[in-house]
Structure formats: C-alpha cells, structure tokens
C-alpha cells in the first residue's frame, strides 16, 4: 500500500489548520510557522499522487477565509510552492538532511515572497525582516520530519 491515504492527508491538514487557528497574538504571531504549508509540503513530497497543486490551492482558500484576507493570496503562494515541490519531488527523496532542509526552507521563503508581492500590490506597507521569521520557525519544525520516523522518502535508512 502506498503511504498517505486520504484520511491521513486530510486529517493532518485539518490538524495543521487547527494549529494555525489557535488564537496567536503578539510575539507568538510573528514566530508562528505556517503549519498548513508545512503539512502540505510534507504530503506533496511524500505522496504526490494523492496531494497535488489542487489540494494546496484549496487549503490556501481556506486560510484566506479564516484570515479574512484578500481571497486567493494564500492560494497563489501555496500553489507556487507546491509546484516547485512537485518539480523536484523525485530528487528531494534522495536529498540528504542538509539539502532537504535547505530545499524546504527555500520553498517556505518563496511562498512568503509571493504573498508579500501580492500584499504590496494591494497597497500594504512593506514589512521588516521579521516578516520572514515564520519560515525560520517552520524549518525548525521540519527537523521533526527529518529526524523522526515520518521521513519524506518513506525510507528509514536514508536521512
């Protein structure tokens, strides 16, 4: 059986959404990693046949609804990251720990940059460097994937 049935995927996405919906405020908000995108990236690399660009788009729309922000901005950011993850999916499963962490970090940053561009077009003020803190905390959270049994390659011998 392939890893990642629908229950696992959508269950974990729901869990990520719940974490995202926790009443974060103040410092917590600036550090909050993008749980939903992390879960999405994990499944995109682990089970690309079950979790694809469409799922990423749907989760982005849900986040936009929850945020009350402009419809489609998170969706756009997520599908760009999802597309890049799928492009390199076969290679990522062969990456070592450092390469994998770097790859995922780049994807998180790219998603944030897409979001930032949309926001700047919408007339928002440019944010400071703290805007990218969620990507840092996100990649720290990704270490959980690297150093535990839920590896993206589905192979416990490789890193």
């Amino acid at each position: 059986m392939r890893p990642g049935n629908n229950l696992e995927i959508y269950g974990s996405l729901l869990l990520g959404l719940l974490l995202y919906l926790l009443p974060w405020a103040g410092v917590g908000l600036t550090f909050r990693p993008d749980f939903v995108l992390l879960v999405l990236l994990y499944w995109l690399i682990r089970a690309p046949y079950a979790c694809n660009v469409g799922v990423a788009w749907m989760m982005g729309i849900v986040i936009d609804l929850a945020d009350g922000s402009l419809f489609g901005q998170h969706a756009l950011a997520y599908i760009v990251a999802a597309f890049l993850a799928l492009m390199y999916q076969r290679r990522v499963t062969l990456f070592n720990r450092l390469q994998q962490a770097g790859f995922v970090f780049a994807l998180l940053i790219i998603a944030q940059i897409v979001l930032l561009i949309v926001k700047l077009f919408g007339g928002d003020q440019p944010a400071g460097w703290t805007y990218f803190l969620p990507s840092l905390t996100g990649i720290m959270l990704w270490q959980l994937v690297i150093y535990s049994k839920i590896k993206v390659s589905g192979d416990e011998n490789r890193g």
């Binding site: 009443p23 405020a25 908000l29 469409g54 788009w57 609804l65 402009l70 969706a75 599908i79």
Partner: protein, 301 residues
C-alpha cells in the same frame, strides 16, 4: 528491508496516476487565484460566499481557541500568594496616584465643564451598546483587525462603531452570523473624522497601517495644534457618536518645504489592554442632511 521492497512496489504506479501535469495545474490554479483576488478586491461579489464559508469555519475556530480558554479558566483558580501581594502593592500605588489626581481636581475643572457639555450632547443621542469580547486579534500582521464574539444574530451590522472605556477602537467591517470583524482605527483603510478637543478644529485622521499610529494629513503647517492634544470624534459622519476620545497627538513635524504639517497620533483606546469592547448597535438620531443623502468619500492620498 521490507520497507525498501514496498518502496519499489509503489514507485511504478506513481508514473501513471499523475493526471494533468503539475505545470498545467499551476497555470490553471494561478489564473483562478488571480481572478478571485481581482473579483474580491474590486467588485465585492464574494461577501456572501465568504460569510457562508466563515460560518462553516466557526466550529473549527471554537475548537482551536478552546485550549487557551481552558488555560485562562484554570489559571484564574491557581493564583498564588505572591502574585496577590504584588497586585495588592500595585493597587496601593494606583490608589495613591489617584489621590494625587484628586488634589489636582480644581485645576481641571474648566476642562471638566467642557467635557460635561460633550457628555450631555452624547447622552442626548443615547446610543444603545452591546458588550463584545475579543476572540482574537488578526492573524495577518499587515492588517489591524480583531474578531469579536457577537455577530448579525445579536444585531451587529457592518459600519457600526466600536469603543472601549478609553475611546474609539474602530468600526465593524464584516458581520458574520456569530462573530464580526472589527477594523481598528490604526488600519490604513480606516478614516475617522475628528475634532481637536482644545480648540474644536475639525480634521480627518487616517490609520497609518504601521506602528499602531494614526496621522492627520491636510492640515497647514501653521495650524494650532500641540503635542498632547486630544482628538475627539466630531460626530459629523453619523457613524461615531460625538465627543469620544480617538487619539493623542504625539509628534508634529513642520517641514517648511511641505504645505502640510506631518502629525502623528497614538490611539487612546487599546485592544491590548482590555478584552471587552462595546459595539454601538443603535442608530444615531441625527436630522437628515438638507443638501443630499449621498455620502461623499473622504479623499485619499
């Protein structure tokens, strides 16, 4: 070893079951996102759709905020002696400061008379208010919004003013069935007509969008305004009742090259200080405008 075998077994089908290529999907969904963004920002067709789906998300939000609610509840039971002593000391200091303020009462009597006039004017309007509790502050650091726990079921409608004990907080911008979204006066999309309490000068304050401040554009450099001046609502917009504190002037820059003074204010009300806010749900009784009913939009920069 078993895992390795399953990996080899699972690989071949993955080549066949992929459907449209990721690139095709990317193009399709980006087009969809961009269309959605354009429709949402320019045409405002999606408000009903958004309301419907937000109601579906409401149970999830309740579940998500449950741990924090439980934590607060439990925490209030376990107050230790040290924190009580600290609070006692803080309150004693507070009481002493208040005693000092009482002695200064005579000096502020003139101001008080003026305030009483404003208060009476406000009493005449008798706006009905509803107590709301802030569920969470906005999740987007770019937007200055909070979500409160009452909605259209309790009579909240978009456009209603939101205040607390210190002054104006903002305005309801979206009302869902059980929650509503309040845009703070510091948000860059919110404009509020104000009056300087000291001399009655009318002006318009814009949210700055950053640093939780407001700014007052379009006032000449020679304008009679000082740091520490209090800005109050003028009540000429039929939205905010008259005489509520909005902000205090904190910085004035008079640049000789610019025809306008650069005035920065900090809001008097604070959403970080209180969890409860008042929503003014009753309509304000004002005589109809003799010229026209049309609302003219305030000019933006």
């Amino acid at each position: 070893m078993i895992r390795r075998v399953t990996l080899q077994q699972q690989q071949p089908p993955a080549f066949f079951v992929r459907g449209p290529s990721p690139f095709a999907r990317l193009v399709f969904f980006s087009a969809l996102s961009i269309v959605l963004m354009a429709v949402d920002s320019r045409l405002h067709y999606l408000n009903e759709v958004r309301q419907g789906f937000a109601t579906l998300l409401y149970p999830l939000e309740v579940v998500a905020s449950a741990p924090v609610r439980i934590y607060r509840h439990v925490n209030s039971y376990f107050v230790d002696q040290k924190s009580l002593a600290q609070e006692n000391q803080r309150l004693t200091t507070f009481a002493m400061n208040q005693a000092l303020d009482l002695q200064r009462l005579t000096n502020t009597e003139a101001e008080n008379a003026h305030l009483r006039l404003l208060f009476e004017a406000r009493q005449k309007l008798k706006p009905s208010t509803q107590l709301a509790e802030i569920l969470h502050t906005g999740r987007d650091p770019f937007v200055h919004k909070v979500e409160v726990n009452i909605g259209t079921q309790q009579g909240v409608a978009p456009g209603q003013a939101v205040v607390d004990g210190f002054g104006v907080i903002g305005q309801v911008t979206r009302a869902y069935p059980f929650t509503s979204e309040v845009t703070l006066i510091t948000d860059k999309s919110l404009v509020i007509p104000v009056q300087i309490a000291r001399n009655g000068l009318r002006a318009i304050a814009f949210g700055h969008g950053r640093d939780s401040t407001l700014y007052v554009p379009y006032l000449p450099t020679s304008v009679d305004i000082k740091e520490g001046d209090k800005l109050m609502t003028s009540g000429i917009d039929n939205t905010y009742p008259e005489g509520l504190t909005v902000a205090l002037v904190t910085r004035i820059e008079r640049d000789p090259n610019s025809p306008f003074a650069h005035i920065i204010c900090t809001p008097a009300a604070g959403t970080d200080r209180r969890r409860q806010v008042l929503i003014i749900t009753g309509s304000l009784i004002t005589p109809p405008s003799p010229i026209s009913k049309k609302v003219s939009h305030a000019p933006r920069q």
